[in-house]
Each structure stands twice: as C-alpha cells, then as structure tokens.
C-alpha cells in the first residue's frame, strides 16, 4: 500500500514530494516517512540515495520520544543534530561520487537531500549551503542545463559574498564550478579567470601541491588544450600528473615498506589503501584517464610521458585493490616502453610493478 490520498491527510498537515515539493501521492513503504508525487520521482530517489538512507530518515522525521528530564532532552536533541550532520556529509559524498562517475541524474536527489539537511541545521543564508548548491550546479551542467546551473551558482556566489568569513576551500569550489560554467558557455576568458581563482584559493587552503588543487590545474589545462595552446596545456597536464604521482607514490612506498618489514608473518595480507574517499578516487580515475587519452594521442613524440601516466594509473588501481585493471595498465606501459625502447631502468621499474600485481592476484582474497 504505497498510495496515499492527499485529501485524507489531517487538516493543516501537507505532504510534499521529496524531489520536487509538489503535493505527494505516494509513500515509501520501508520508512513511511518519505513521500513522492509519482512513481518516476520515487524510482529516481530510490536509485540515487533513498536506498542507502531509507532507515536513517525515520528518527529524523518522526517526533522525538518523550523524555523525562531536561538532560535527556538535550541529549536527544544533540543526537538528532549529529545524525543530520552525518547525513549531510554522506549525501554529499554520494552525490559527488555520482558526478565524477558521470551519472549526473543520479546525483541530483542526493545533492538535494544534502541541501535540505543543511538548511535544517544551519539556516537559510549560511555558507554551509554553498557546497550543496555547487553540487547541484555541477549536476545541471552535466545534464546540459546551463541556465539552471547559472542560477544555482549565482545563489552560491551571493551567499559567499554576503558572508564575512568563508573558508578558502569553499571559495575554491565555487570558482571551480563557475569556471566550468563559463567553459560550457564557451566564454574562455571568464573561465580562466575563475579557474585561476580556484587554484589560488585551493593553494591557500591545502597548499600548491595538494591533490585537491590538481582539479583546477586540470580544467585550466583543458581550456588551453581547447584553445590549441599545446605547450601550455602540456606543462599543466604534467603538473597534474606530478601531483598525483607524488601522492600515490607516498602511499605505495609506505605499503611496500610495511610489506618488507613484516614479510614473514605467515603470509599476512596487507591492507591496501589510497587514503582517499570514494569521490576523490572517482576524480582521480577521471582526471588520469583523460590525461592518458591526451598523452596517447601525442604518444609518438613523448612516450615517456604516456608511460608516466600509465604508471600512476597502475599505482592507483593497485592501491584500490583492482588488480585486473592495474595489470592491464601495467601491461600497456610495459609494451609501450619496450616498443619505444625506453631506458632499461624504466623497463625494470615497470617489470617490478607487474610482478607485484601478479603476486597479489595469485593470492586469492580470503
């Protein structure tokens, strides 16, 4: 029974669709606290985020149980806040991951949830709303709805402009999205300006060599690539690959050190870890594969650059425990190195990586 009749709802209480805020006609039978205007929106929400948070919504949307003491009431309120904050982060990460994977439609309901909880917790004009606006803007951009994206971005920009203290990270994200918007509108002057701002703020927040700064460089490189300024784009792509190489290599080295130290502990398996969250992993894959594509198109001139990117990808997949992909890329790197007759040292390094991965695969997961 997941159909409800709006007219049967008690007077003064109105039920709205979770996605579009129209009067609701259906209810989710699992949690009974989420309403929809129709099957389409219910399906969309379920596929995007509702499946993951269905049960978590119940305590937030039912009235609080009766507490006997003030202390308990305070405690209950605090717990509620905690839950909402957790949901904000969770929905945000999920939406971000969808975006990096290119599933823009799926990202929208998740981002909307994040935005809604943010409004509940922080109020309407808080800077905290900006990241959610930005996600929505990015999703709209991905869906090709530029006007809608601009709307969200204007909203975000206005919020940032009004607030006196806004973290640099948020500034950076806002400018990155504005940059993307102007790229989509093919206004490259403005796009470059905003991406430059993005890199500046990201550098202030995380440092110039951080993986979170790399995104700005990558988009800037894309603009120059589009404008056919190959030498500029080339140095920027190199910069991005170096940032990722440094980061992944650190993790990789730490892992191999641990392996050497504890080699005889009865073949104990080591946990491979990238130290990234899902969204960042998706971003890494997206950025690195597109750089790889560009490198491969100009592979004849500088094969070592292609091999470099391939090696980073191998490390990434290896740390993400995706050995089949890691092996595939390692083979490609190995063949390319052989074909172009790169230095022996380079070939050995790749060979070593390849051995490591095959050893990993031979040892089945327990």
């Amino acid at each position: 029974m997941n159909v409800i009749y709006p007219l049967a709802v008690p007077k003064g209480r109105r039920l709205y669709c979770e996605v579009c805020e129209a009067p609701a006609e259906r209810v989710c039978t699992a949690c009974t606290v989420t309403y929809y205007c129709g099957v389409v929106h219910q399906k969309a929400d379920w596929a995007s985020i509702h499946e993951k948070i269905c049960q978590l919504l119940i305590p937030l949307r039912t009235s609080m149980p009766f507490y006997n003491s003030e202390e308990e009431r305070q405690h209950g309120l605090q717990q509620l806040q905690q839950r909402q904050k957790h949901l904000i982060e969770f929905c945000y990460t999920v939406a971000q991951k969808y975006l990096f994977e290119g599933k823009h439609e799926d990202a929208v309901p998740a981002a909307l949830h994040s935005l809604r909880f943010r409004m509940n917790v922080y109020g309407l004009s808080s800077v905290e709303l900006v990241p959610a606006y930005l996600l929505l803007a990015e999703a709209s951009l991905g869906l090709g709805r530029i006007v809608q994206a601009e709307e969200y971005l204007s909203q975000a920009q206005w919020t940032v402009l009004k607030s006196t203290e806004c973290p640099n990270a948020t500034h950076s994200l806002l400018h990155r999205n504005l940059g993307l918007l102007f790229m989509a509108k093919e206004n490259y002057e403005e796009a470059r300006y905003h991406l430059a701002n993005d890199i500046y703020f990201a550098s202030c927040a995380f440092g110039t060599e951080n993986i979170r700064t790399s995104g700005g460089y990558f988009h800037l490189a894309n603009i120059f690539f589009g404008l056919n300024k190959m030498d500029l784009a080339d140095t920027l792509y190199t910069k991005v690959s170096e940032i990722w190489n440094k980061y992944l290599n650190n993790h990789y080295q730490a892992l191999s050190r641990a392996r050497i130290q504890q080699i005889d502990l009865l073949g104990k398996r080591f946990e491979t870890d990238t130290g990234l969250d899902e969204a960042q992993e998706a971003e890494a894959i997206q950025i690195l594969t597109s750089i790889l594509n560009i490198r491969e198109s100009t592979s004849d001139k500088a094969p070592q650059k292609t091999v470099f990117v391939l090696k980073i990808l191998v490390m990434l997949y290896y740390l993400m425990m995706n050995s089949s992909k890691a092996q595939e890329y390692a083979m490609r790197a190995f063949n390319l190195a052989k074909e172009k007759q790169l230095s022996v040292q380079e070939q050995n390094a790749i060979q070593e990586l390849l051995n490591l991965i095959s050893a990993q695969e031979a040892q089945p997961m327990t």
Binding site: V19, C20, E21, A22, P23, C37, V40, H41, K43, A44, E105, V108, P109, L112, L115, R116, M119, L124, S125, L136, S140, V147, Q148, E150, E151, Y152, Q155, E190, R192, Y193, L195, A196, N197, I199, Y200, S203, T208, E209, Y217, L220, F224, K229, D231, L232, T235, L236, K239
Partner: protein, 476 residues
C-alpha cells in the same frame, strides 16, 4: 526518467521558477529570459559606466597578492605561481617568527610592497616562457636579475633562493662552455661563505676556479672571472686555516695554505701571491717551523719590494722579526723592526709605529736594556696619544710603566743592599716625592746618565705613571 526539477531555493522567485514545470504550479517568466535580462544589464553597465568591469571590481575587492597570483594563473604560468606562493608563505612565516622574537622589529608584509611583487611577476613569467621553449640562458638571466634585485640585507634569503635556482638552471646550460655554471658556482660559494659553511663554500669556489681557468670571461663590471675566483678561493682558504689554527691543527692549515699559494701563483697576480705567502708564513710560525716560515716570508718581502709596496713590506719585516724573535735571534729582529718603524714613519702609519715600537721595547726589555726599552715604549705611547686611541694608550702606558719600573729597580736595589744612612735618606726622599730618585754616587756613572734622561718626560705623564709604577714594581 524525465527531468528532475531543482529544489526550490529560499527565495520566492526561485521557488516559483522551480515549480513552473509541474502541472499544478502556475507559470511565470521563463528563467532563460530572466538570466538574459541580467546579462543585458551587466553588459549595459560595462559599456556605459567606465570602471565597472568585473576585472576592475575584482582588483579593488581583492588584495594585490591575490590579483598577481590570479593573473599568473590565468595565463598558465603555474610554475611561477608555485614559486611565488612558496616564497610568500615563507615571507609570512619569517615575519611571524621575527615578530614573536622582538616587538620593535617589523618587516613590512609583501602585500604592502607592490613594486617587489611586480618584479616577481615580470621576471618569473619571462623565465617560465624561456624555460618552456628551452632557452635556459634566458631563464638564468631572469632569475639572476631577481637575485640582484633582492640583494639587500633585509631580503637576503630571497636572493639566496634565486642563487640556488640559478645554480640548478646553470647546470643545464652547455652552449657557453660553462660560463654561467662558473658564475653560479661563485654565487653558491658566496652564499655558503656568508652562512659560515666554509668547507662547502671552498668546494664551490674550487669548481668556480677550475671552470674559469684559462678563460678570459669578464663579469658585468669588467672584472676577470678567474681573478675573482682566485680571490674568493684564497679568502675562504684563509678563513678555513684560521679556524684550524685556532684548533691547533697546524698540519691541515699549512696544507690548505700551500694549496692557496699555488693557486695564487697560477693566478698571475703578484699581490695575491705575496698575501698567500704571508699567511703561510704565519701558519708556519704558529706551527713552530721557523726556517720554512723565514723562506716563505722572504718570498713575501721580495714580492713586496718588486711591487714597491711599502706597507706590505713593513708587514713582511714585522712577521720576519716575529719569527726571529721566536728563534731568539734578537739582533736581527731588532734590525727588521727598526726598518719597519722607518717605513711606517715615512708612510705616516701610526698604528704600525705603535706596534713595532712596542715589539722593540719588548725585546729590549727581555734583554735587560731597560733604558732602551722604555725609550721605545715611550715612543709607542706618544704615537698612541697622538692617535687619541684610548685602549691603545692604556696598553702602551702599562708597558712603559713596566719598563721604567725595571729601570728604577736596579737603583733602589743597590740602595737597599748598601744599607747605610745616606742610602736610606735617598730612599725616604724618593718615597715622599714619588717622582724622583737621586742617583747613588756609588752606582756606576752610566746608569745615572740613563736615569737622568729618563726623567725628562713630560710632567703630566709622570703623574699618571707613578701610581702604575708602584703597582707594577710591587708585584715584582
């Protein structure tokens, strides 16, 4: 799946816009039209009101540093940006540290010095363009220009940073036969020398010297690079040997100084050669190898005579005299020292006169010629008084006092030894007057003569001296 309308934003306008697609919501102006209107307004403002363009607004709104950084980035100069950003961070960190150390010290933040930022922008971008094209010489020139610009006491670390960068770049330049590399080595040597890391400095200077050997390169002020290298290397070697001598590591010091004098010989500069032998001679003297020291110092004096350089000649003679004195060969030492005094007097070098006279006095004092000793000490004192150099005056005063006390001791001793009534009278009268002592008729004539000559010194000097004389003679 069809479209997913956005969540209504807090604004009623946006809410209405979001609902327009739903069957039950009222229609309103399409969003695209609204945004188009906004763009029209923006355009209108930009065209009709000068000074309202977005860039100008940003320029007023943001700090100058941020504008510079954004300018760098939007044109793709990311390496310059990274470098500038790191420098700015370090600048701030240094400022913070300095502020916590002293309240008064205040270096202005980089933000308030736009001319410096402009210089960074200008040279860094040019260097990056050159680097992209592979013109490393241009890169070097631009970075070197920056290093020169920051060559003041406040921003020394910025200069050092660019010297290091120059050094890295210079190693990539191969076309010019290593001139840039040599220069960079020279700068790095200077950097380490200022930092007090003499061994590293010497290493760089050696490379500098080796690269410039047999070349006729000149720097921008027209000096020969090779000569410059020799000078710097010698200076570093000397400083190195100084520390070694302090640690009594004579062998090492002498080895380094021999190397230095060889380099000086190759440098074909007589003056430098002389200088090197002088320090080598002093090292030999410190090590107690007097014969070698004499031969080396002989070279120095010969070179100085060839160059007709009196001052260096005086220095050579003085050093030789020191060696001779250590060898107990006082007569020759005295000859040399007298020569030094003559030369110094001819050149009006009062300090040298004081030094040489004091040494002469010392020698005479040791030999027991007290009257001569006090004569030279007096000369030293008078010259020091002319210079109005208080510490030097005090020092010579003491020397003079000691010599005079020695001189008087003999007479006093003989009076005490004779132990008769007239002698006692003499002693008592001297005790009262404190200024004069009558010569004992029994004591030899010659001594009396010297005594008398002694007391012809100026009156004020006697006043000062008496106290000291008593003090020092009491201690004997």
């Amino acid at each position: 799946m069809t479209t997913l309308p956005p969540l209504p934003a807090p604004r009623p306008k946006l809410t209405s816009l979001a609902r327009q697609k739903l069957p039950c919501s009222p229609t309103s102006i399409p969003r695209s039209q609204l945004i188009k209107e906004k763009e029209d307004i923006d355009h209108y403002l930009e065209v009709n009101f000068k000074g309202l363009s977005k860039e100008e607004v940003a320029a007023y709104q943001n700090s100058y540093t941020k504008n510079i950084c954004v300018d760098l980035l939007r044109d793709g100069y990311h390496k310059s940006f990274t470098e500038l950003f790191a420098l700015m961070e370090k600048w701030e960190a240094l400022r913070e540290r300095a502020r916590s150390r002293s309240l008064l010290w205040s270096q202005r933040p980089l933000e308030e010095q736009p001319d410096k930022l402009d210089h960074f922008y200008y040279y860094l971008t040019r260097a990056e363009v050159a680097e992209r094209k592979g013109y490393f010489e241009d890169v070097y020139n631009n970075l070197y220009a920056l290093a020169c610009y920051f060559n003041n006491s406040e921003d020394k670390w910025v200069r050092n940073h660019f010297y290091e960068r120059c050094f890295q770049i210079a190693q990539l330049i191969k076309i010019d036969g290593g001139k840039k590399e040599a220069e960079a080595h020279g700068h790095m040597g200077l950097l380490f020398e200022e930092d007090g890391q003499l061994l590293e400095a010497a290493e760089h200077y050696e490379a500098f010297h080796q690269l410039t050997q047999g070349r006729i390169w000149k720097d921008e002020t027209g000096h020969f690079l090779n000569l410059l290298a020799c000078e710097s290397l010698l200076r570093t070697y000397r400083l190195l040997s100084d520390t070694m001598l302090e640690n009594k590591d004579y062998k090492q010091a002498i080895r380094i100084l021999i190397k230095a004098s060889e380099i000086a010989k190759e440098g074909n500069d007589k003056k430098m050669e002389g200088e090197a032998s002088y320090y080598l001679g002093l090292a030999h003297l410190a090590a107690g190898e007097y014969e070698t020291a004499l031969t080396v110092l002989g070279t120095y004096s010969r070179v100085s005579t060839e160059l007709e350089d009196d001052l260096n000649l005086a220095r050579a003679y003085e050093a030789i005299a020191k060696v001779l004195q250590s060898q107990k060969n006082t007569t020759e030492a005295i000859q040399y020292l007298k020569e030094v005094v003559n030369i110094a007097r001819n050149n009006f070098r009062s300090l040298d006169i004081v030094k040489a006279s004091t040494m002469l006095g010392d020698i005479y004092n040791e030999k027991g010629h007290y009257s001569k000793a006090s004569e030279y000490f007096q000369q030293a004192f008078n010259t020091a008084a002319e210079l109005a150099n208080i510490p030097l005056m005090d020092e010579t005063k003491v020397h003079y006092g000691i010599a005079k006390a020695h001189q008087m001791m003999l007479t006093v001793n003989s009076y005490v030894a004779s132990a008769d009534l007239p002698s006692l009278d003499h002693l008592l009268s001297w005790k009262e007057g404190r200024s004069d002592i009558a010569p004992d008729p029994v004591v030899e004539e010659s001594r009396r003569a010297t005594l008398e000559s002694l007391y012809q010194t100026s009156e004020d000097l006697e006043e000062e001296l008496d106290n000291q004389t008593n003090e020092t003679s009491a201690s004997f």
